[in-house]
């Protein structure tokens, strides 16, 4: 187990390293000068050039990258134009947002987490619930309705659903406030009411996949011998389905959920844009548009960390769910 964990973590670090190098290279190829945004109207080339040198943008790529890595590990001095000393983990200074990138992250991460985690819980419950309902009575009216619901969800797009929900619940019926982020600690009710539409639309679309996946898995599991054993023991339906079948059928759902949640945490650009909430995804997109390299690097890295972590977590969860994995 420990060896496995160490190996997985090493591979994850390698992945993150590769992600950072690729991003670094890719964004240096961008047709966008990070300095030009710094003087909007009357800027002269000489001044810009001096700023570039001061920011180290004229240094060789490798030493720039090394400096970046050093900043993450030990922190570094960025100079007056970038807020001075930047403590570890230093992700640099954003000229566009005029703040340290770590501050940006500290601001937008809770937002994205607040969107994704409740939404994921909701979509998993909904998906597994729907899948369960339809697997219990395959071919029934319930099954048709559940599958129809999930197929519709899978065929719609978030921005579409989001726009319609906004129009109906916020602008027309006025049951909900305009979506926005309030910290959970500040006001749980406002936190929830500002995000509930985002959760619902994410859940509607995502649950589709889970409903179908879980339904198929459940049907397969129900034909397993051990389910028959459970019934032969005289167990009731709830126990047979809820305990014996569910646990075995949930494993592939865990895998897919891990990937999805990881990816979603890395950037719910569309959700954030649809509902006008400034989270990690939108910050990343804005950063790309503005050529804000430090923010891009940070958001890409954070997104990658989420994906990698989710993968790791899935592996660990597997071991919890399936005792056969524990031996290895």
């Amino acid at each position: 187990m420990l060896r496995f964990l160490v190996r997985r973590i090493l591979s994850a670090v390698l992945t993150l390293f590769a992600v950072s190098v690729l991003t670094f290279l890719m964004f240096f190829a961008l047709p966008r000068d990070p300095v030009s945004g710094m003087c909007p109207k009357n800027c002269n080339p000489e001044r810009l050039e001096r700023v570039r040198q001061e920011l180290g943008l004229r240094d060789p790529l490798v030493s720039q990258y090394a400096g970046y890595l050093k900043g993450i590990v030990t922190g570094r001095d960025l100079g007056g134009a970038q807020g001075g000393r930047c403590d570890a983990p230093c992700l640099g200074w954003s000229y566009v947002n005029n703040e340290a990138v770590t501050d940006t992250l500290a601001r937008v991460l809770p937002v994205t987490l607040s969107i994704v985690i409740p939404a994921a819980i909701l979509w998993l419950l909904l998906g597994v619930g729907l899948g369960m309902v339809s697997a219990l009575r395959p071919g029934s009216w319930w099954d048709r309705a559940a599958i129809g619901f999930s197929l519709t969800g899978a065929s719609l797009q978030l921005y579409f659903v989001g726009a319609v929900l906004l129009l109906v619940f916020v602008y027309t019926l006025r049951w909900l406030p305009v979506p926005g982020y309030t910290p959970l600690s500040a006001d749980p009710l406002r936190w929830a009411s500002g995000l509930v539409l985002a959760w619902c639309s994410l859940a509607f679309l995502f649950s589709a996949i889970y409903a179908r996946l879980f339904r198929a898995q459940m049907l397969e599991t129900l034909s397993e011998d051990f389910v028959r054993t459970a019934r032969a023991k005289g167990l009731g339906r709830t126990r047979v389905y809820g305990r014996h079948a569910l646990r075995a059928a949930i494993t592939p759902v865990v895998t897919v959920a891990g990937l999805d949640v990881g990816a979603a945490l890395g950037g719910t650009v569309i959700t954030e844009t649809t509902f006008g909430i400034q989270g990690l995804g939108r910050t990343a997109v804005d950063a790309v548009r503005a050529g804000d390299l430090p923010t891009i690097m940070a958001t890409v890295l954070v997104a990658a960390v989420f994906v990698v972590l989710a993968n790791l977590l899935v592996d660990l969860l597997y071991a919890v769910i399936d005792p056969r994995v524990r031996l290895g």
Binding site: K233, G236, D322
Partner: protein, 344 residues
Amino acid sequence: MDPYLRVDDLRVSFGTADGTVRAVDGVSFAVPRGRTLGVVGESGSGKSVTSLALLGLHDPRRATVTGQITVGGHQLVGRPETEVRRLRGQEMALIFQDPLSALHPYYPVGRQVTEAYRVHHPRAGRAQTRRHVVEMLGRVGIPQPQRRYDQYPHEFSGGMRQRAMIAMALVNGPALLIADEPATALDVTVQAQILDLLADLQAEFDTAIVLISHDLGVVAQVADDVLVMYAGRAVEQGSAEQVLRRPQHPYTWGLLSSVPSLHGDAAVDLAAIPGHPPSLIDVPAGCAFHPRCRYAEHAGGRCRTQRPELTPGGTPGHRMACHLPAVERARRYAEDVVRVGVAR
């Protein structure tokens, strides 16, 4: 004494896209407590379907079950699921062929046995239940049952798993045990252990056992009575002595003579039955065995058109379904089977 298990004209069919599958087509038998019925047949003969039907484990939406199944005085067919459920595990239990897939891979073995106990003893105390289960595990020959209790099925060997299955089946002391190929997936040496164990436990609990197997040797070893199935129908039944020593049906002859033996003449070919078992969707008209029967011509063509009913054979309690006239049968048995086939 009234037999504990009585099955009358059991029929099980499944609707599929390609037609109706008559998996069991009119089978009747009875098993008193303390005795073992061996059900023999090849793939698709309906023996496993019969075992599931006995416990009412078929999906009612897919399978149609008719006939009478009486267990300890309760008629099961058509009863509500909740009532049948109370009998399962308590009055009657089932052992499957493959203990690895029959045990839930994610739960410790002891817990699975405990679950079988607690469902019928909801008021039993935790500690007392555990004691009982550990004792049961020990009784079926699992060494160190205290430690084994918390282990997972994958940490058990094949034989130990089957012992655990047996413990699970017997934990409530059922009067009827249905063992579906209980030893087929195991090695011969372990298989022998399991069969012995079953016999010992039967003696102890006075259980009625229905043992389902394709292996005539296994049946010979443990069964008191034997039922031979072909294409969902019973073709011959009687005591083990009658069916295995003095078989009357050409299919039983074929089965017996096609089994390679440790004795006999290894230099001659085995007496194989030609062809292969029929599809249950498209069972041949008349006697289902007739396309493979080398004596079909001797019954005057009835084999093709008319379905033979089970009729009493030579000795009391011995019955078989064959159109072959008694005289012809006796002659063929003497000439082909005894001399050539199973020359022992």
